[in-house]
């Protein structure tokens, strides 16, 4: 018997490359003169891109590492299909978040000014967190899993608070830190209970151990299972463990919020999937109902809170995205809850596939939304939803992209990717006869549409100097035709009637005359194009979302039986 483990470095490459780049960036930062620190961003982005490339040789999903010397099928690290898909999401998400940060950090003069982000530290923390997130889905024992989760989260606290001279940041980070630490502590307690019951830390070993556990330990195991879920539910921001989300997102720089909403959430979700469907596979009757209730609460609470966001308040964009990401976490949990009721491994794999497919769609579309929001915020600076007014007049393509992203999030055509992801989610609930959950999920689609569509409609409204200038603008277009009516009182009906009327009908010149006066604001000035990295981020996410819409099989193929575990 050999005591030397063989380490499969190719399997380990994705998290390793990111971690090495993180250290490299930190060290380079020490030696680079101030003027050349902008290259740090390039190194970080290149590292993430390289890590994405290292996923290519893993696409077959059959590599493992850190296996027990005497039992080669029990491993701590497994680059199976699940791990590779989640790594694709988190590394891609981190890369997009890095791209969104690049313009600001390139422009930034020094690291010490108020409002500045210390560049070396920022990139190091981002990469460190991403390496944890990339490790997490491949971890196959609880120790590695918790370690990876903490590696993902700890740098995120610092990222939230990193901006110099910012009041909101530290407070948000503290809130995030305290709640997160409590959640982790509870999870560790749960793990210790589970260990007591099963005698193993390997996920596969736990499943076997729990099946053969002493019935006297039943209560302990059940408590352990539920407590273990808490920490992961916290990371996915499931209600009632979501209170850190709005404050943290609002306090964090926008790209960090994007990172948290996609990378951190996906990592937490991956942990939840691993724990429930692999380790506690036999205990679906315990965690299935728990997750079903969490899912219903999360969707509803997130959507209702998002609905109440006032569009003209400062940072309302981020607030809305924060709450909508809470709601989306609810959809992610629906198939997972259904997996708890699954009758066989194939049905469970299909349900998990629906969760992962939804996560793919959500990651692409949400990052795209954040990318456009970052572009708009660069111009307006206050992160208000109303800043998006007239975006279509300034940047038609950007506005169309954002409209598409929002409808994907809402799950309505033309956002077909979102529609199919939602169909897959609801299908899994119907399949396992979770009628109430299916109805709640369906009704939530309607609630969510209100705020997504409200935002999408803003894009195509003409830009207005003030929030209430819509009516005067409409009346002024009536212009000449209304001149004779202005002696008469009723401006409202007369005005709108006049504006519909095309004057002398049938003249070829008429339509031009109508529109020439129309988008006066548009003529006044087209908006600046998005900065190059942001433009790349928008283009990539838009193309991916389009591809997922035309060929939903790309993501829904994951729901085929036997893909996972």
């Amino acid at each position: 018997m050999s005591l030397v483990q063989t380490i499969d470095w190719i399997a380990l490459a994705p998290p390793t490359v990111v971690a090495v780049t993180a250290v490299a960036v930190l060290l380079t930062d020490l030696f680079l003169p101030e003027a050349r620190k902008r290259h740090l961003g390039t190194i970080a982005a290149a590292g993430l891109a390289l890590a994405l490339l290292t996923l290519l040789p893993l696409h077959r999903g059959d590599r493992t590492s850190f296996c027990l010397a005497d039992r080669p099928d029990v491993c701590s690290y497994s680059a199976d299909t699940f791990a590779v898909v989640i790594q694709l999401i988190v590394l891609g998400g981190a890369l997009i978040a890095a791209l969104l940060t690049l313009p600001e950090l390139t422009r930034q003069r020094g690291d010490d000014a108020a409002g500045a982000l210390p560049r070396g530290e920022f990139w190091f923390l981002l990469l460190a967190s991403a390496s944890g997130a990339a490790l997490l889905p491949a971890a196959r024992d609880l120790a590695t899993l918790v370690l990876a989760m903490e590696v993902t989260t700890l740098p995120a606290y610092a990222l939230v608070a990193l901006r110099r001279g910012d009041r909101l940041g530290p407070e948000a980070a503290l809130k995030f830190f305290l709640t997160s630490v409590v959640a982790t502590a509870v999870t560790l307690l749960g793990i210790s209970f589970v260990y007591a019951g099963s005698g193993s830390l390997f996920l596969g070993g736990i499943a076997d151990g729990l099946a053969a556990a002493d019935p006297a330990l039943d209560a302990l195991i059940r408590a352990g299972v539920v407590l273990t879920l808490v920490g992961f539910a916290f990371k996915t921001a499931a209600v009632p463990f979501h209170f850190w989300v709005p404050d943290t997102y609002l306090g964090a720089p926008l790209p960090v919020a994007a990172y948290l909403s996609v990378v951190s959430k996906t990592a937490g979700l991956a942990g939840l999937v691993l724990v429930t469907s692999v380790a506690f596979a036999g205990l679906g009757s315990v965690w299935g109902p728990v997750l079903a209730v969490l899912a219903a609460l999360t969707m509803t609470a997130g959507n209702v809170a998002a609905l109440r966001t006032r569009p003209d308040r400062d940072r309302s964009t981020v607030r809305l995205l924060a709450w909508s990401s809470v709601a989306q976490a609810g959809y992610l949990l629906v198939p997972l809850a259904a997996a708890g009721y699954a009758r066989d491994a194939d049905a469970r794999s299909a349900a998990i596939g629906a969760t992962v497919a939804y996560a793919v769609m959500y990651a692409v579309v949400n990052l795209g939304t954040f990318a456009v929001a970052a572009h708009v915020a660069e111009r307006a600076g206050r992160h208000r939803l109303t800043d998006h007014r007239g975006l279509h007049d300034r940047n038609p393509l950007t506005a169309l992209a954002l409209g598409f992203f929002l409808l994907c999030l809402a799950g309505l055509p033309p956002g077909i990717a979102g529609l199919f992801a939602k169909i897959a989610v609801i299908r899994s609930a119907v399949q396992e006869e979770l009628a109430v959950l299916a109805v709640v999920a369906a009704v939530n689609v309607v609630i969510a549409l209100v705020y997504y569509l409200r935002w999408a409609a803003l894009l195509f409204r003409p830009a207005a100097p003030g929030p209430d200038a819509a009516l005067p603008a409409a009346v002024s277009t009536v212009g000449g035709t209304a001149a004779s009516a202005d002696a008469a009182g009723p401006v409202g009906p007369a005005g709108s009637a006049g504006s519909v009327e095309p004057g002398e009908p049938g003249e070829p010149g008429e339509p031009e005359a109508d529109t020439a006066s129309a988008p006066a604001a548009a003529a006044a000035g087209r908006g600046p194009r998005p900065a190059a990295p942001v433009a790349v981020a928008i283009a990539v996410t838009a193309l991916l979302a389009l591809a997922l819409s035309v060929a939903p099989q790309l993501m829904l193929g994951l729901t085929s039986a036997g893909t996972f575990f």
Binding site: G353, L400, L407, L412, P413, P414, I416, L419, I423, I426, R427, V430, Q431, A438, V439, A442, V443, V446, L449, V450, A457, F460, R461, P462, A470, A473, A474, T477, A482, S484, A485, A487, A488, G489, P490, G492, P493, A494, A497, G498, S499, V500, E501, P502, G503, E504, P505, G506, P511, E512, D514, T515, A518, P519, A522, P552, Q553, L556, G557, T559
Partner: protein, 612 residues
């Protein structure tokens, strides 16, 4: 019949469905600049024209001897993981609806090209064209889809474009109306999705042809009842069935003319089509359970719609012509639902016939209402009927007036016109419903529906009288004055300025002799409480009016006609838009076999399961 086989017609159908969507993308991405609006309009007209040609070609190539089975079938795997296929085809039920959709979309595109509505903040018609094209793809795909999930996708596709059409190009209250429309229908359709998933997962396929051939085998009775309830709610909201109709009047009132035309002519058909195409064959036991309830709701809708219209048409009720047509749609769709509820070939054929007839007639009604609004600046019935200031289409625009009268008469179901056969067959079906249904219930429904036809005739004739002929002078009132009290009864709160408002609106629309009616009104009304405040304001107008009119004109109608601004009668482009629909009304009214021969074989097949 053209000798084309499936290898030609299948790509033709797919192209007809997809082409408008591609064109919509092109229109959206057109570089902005002078003339791009016009280009967009032309692209829209050309593409919808091409789609119309495509559907007509399909109709010409359609094998009438095999109208029951889908033809021109495309069947490609799309999302194998969920078993979703791109499965398209036409049969005798969907073919007429495809042609109707393409025709109405083409007419709407021409309408937008010739008289583009100004949107909110001066939004040009470019976006409107793109939205119309998306709408066309959505509706064509719904009628051609033979896969449940594809049907759902297409069904949902129309939501967002219609929301934007109403909220950006609509009239007063458009924001509320647009939200009401989109939320109601979405709520219905997500419930419908649950029903589809239930059926698909239980039966193991989403293929509508396979499901229809199974006639509910493999679905338990409970499943069928649940599925019909869920799917039915979604479709009933769209139809709309009383009491789920309340989004419709608001949406129609606020929508621009093309929006109303498509909403009434095409979108409402999605609901009834879904009932016939999916619910009847897929869950026969379920629909048999619900048929009496459906019939009861249907006749309630008929009566409710007619009563609402009668209330709106009353003098002084402040009713809106477009709102009235919307409520009349609730009544007409009630007949369609009644026909479906009988579960007999007669009734379902009648329902499908009434469906098409309603699409043609109501689209024409909305087009005419749009033309009236263009001329008079209002669709308020009181203003249109106001003595002196009213529309009086017979006198002022005889051809438009005649067309409105013709359409209204067609709508009330005059034999020989399209509106007659569908309602007759639906009621005939109710007289002798399918075996196993409670006949007395249906006979009672039949009697109530018969009463509904009377009420329908009552309000439509009232509309014709008030809008086309105008109100008679109120006895005892001064010459030229009765319009003032009528106007003051109206819903407009600005009582003192009301007489002015009416006059100014009319003057505006005519484009000539601005303010004449105003001046007359105020000049003769000195001393009355309503008018004193406006004398000064109208002074200038009065001076102008002196040139054309003697201020103390007598009340004789001919003299009044001379006093009012000229209203242009039907323009040539309007006639070109309206006459095809009028001709179609006449054609299928006189030759109902044209449609019934198409639908009947398909209906017989679909109902096989119900008859068992």
């Amino acid at each position: 019949m053209l000798p084309l086989n499936d290898s030609v017609t299948a790509p033709l159908l797919a192209a007809t469905v997809a082409l408008p969507l591609l064109a919509a993308v092109v229109v959206l991405l057109l570089p902005r600049g002078p003339g791009s609006t016009r280009t967009a309009g032309r692209i829209g007209t050309a593409v919808t024209g091409a789609a119309l040609a495509g559907t007509l070609l399909l109709a010409a190539a359609f094998d009438r001897d095999a109208a029951g089975a889908p033809q021109a079938v495309t069947d490609v795997a799309w999302v194998p993981a969920l078993g979703i296929r791109l499965h398209l085809g036409v049969d005798g039920i969907s073919l007429p609806l495809l042609v109707l959709t393409a025709l109405l979309c083409f007419l709407c595109a021409v309408h937008v090209l010739r008289r583009p509505p100004a949107g909110e903040g001066g939004a040009g018609p470019r976006g409107l064209v793109a939205l119309l094209l998306v709408l066309e793809t959505g509706t064509l795909a719904t009628f051609a889809a033979l896969d449940l999930i594809l049907f759902f996708l297409a069904f949902e596709t129309v939501l967002i474009p219609m929301y934007f059409v109403i909220s950006r190009w609509g009239g007063a209250e458009r924001a509320t109306a647009a939200w009401k429309f989109v939320l109601y229908t979405l709520l219905g359709s997500v419930v419908m999705l649950l029903g589809f998933l239930l059926v698909g997962l239980q039966a193991g396929t989403f293929d509508m042809v396979v499901l229809a051939e199974a006639h509910g085998d493999g679905l338990s009775r409970t499943t069928q009842i649940l599925a019909v309830l869920a799917i039915g709610i979604g479709l009933a909201v769209k139809t709309p069935m009383w009491p789920l109709h309340s989004w419709l009047p608001d949406a129609h009132t606020a929508a621009p003319t093309v929006g109303s035309v498509l909403l009434a002519g095409v979108l409402l058909k999605l609901g009834t089509y879904g009932l016939v195409r999916i619910v009847l064959p897929v869950a026969p036991e379920g629909i048999r359970f619900f048929a009496p309830y459906l019939a009861a709701f249907a006749v309630t809708g008929i009566i409710y719609g007619s009563l609402a219209c009668l209330a709106l048409v009353r003098s002084g009720a402040g009713g809106d012509l477009k709102r009235l047509i919307a409520y009349s749609s609730v009544g007409h769709m009630g007949f369609v639902l009644l026909g479906i509820a009988t579960l007999t070939p007669t009734g379902v054929n009648g329902a499908l016939f009434a469906n098409i007839a309603h699409g043609v007639i109501t689209a024409l009604l909305f087009l005419v209402a749009g033309a009236v609004k263009e001329r008079t600046g209002t669709t308020d019935l009181d203003r249109l009927a106001a003595h002196g200031g009213g529309a009086r289409l017979y006198g002022r625009t005889p051809r438009l007036g005649a067309l409105l009268a013709f359409t209204a008469v067609a709508s009330l179901g005059l034999p020989g016109l399209a509106g007659f056969w569908g309602e007759l067959l639906a009621m005939l079906g109710a007289f002798n419903p399918a075996e196993g249904l409670n006949r007395p219930v249906f006979v009672v429904c039949l009697a109530i529906a018969g009463l509904g036809t009377l009420l329908t005739a009552a309000y439509l004739l009232q509309v014709v009288r008030r809008v086309c002929a105008g109100s008679p002078p109120t006895p005892g009132a001064g010459a030229g004055r009765p319009d003032v009290p009528t106007g003051a009864h109206g819903a407009t709160p600005a009582a003192p300025g009301d007489a002015d408002g009416t006059g100014a609106d009319t003057g505006d629309a005519g484009g000539t002799a601005t303010g004449t009616a105003t001046a007359t009104g105020t000049a003769t009304a000195t001393g009355t409480a309503t008018a004193t405040g406006t004398v000064d304001a109208a002074g200038a107008a009065a001076v102008r009016a002196q040139r054309t009119v003697t201020a103390t004109a007598t009340a004789a109608p001919p003299a009044e006609a001379a006093r009012q601004p000229e209203l242009p009668d039907l323009h040539r482009d309007e006639s070109a838009l309206f006459l095809p629909l009028a001709a179609l009304t006449l054609l299928i009214g006189l030759w109902p076999a044209l449609l019934l021969r198409l639908t009947d074989p398909a209906v017989q097949l679909l109902l096989e399961g119900v008859g068992r």
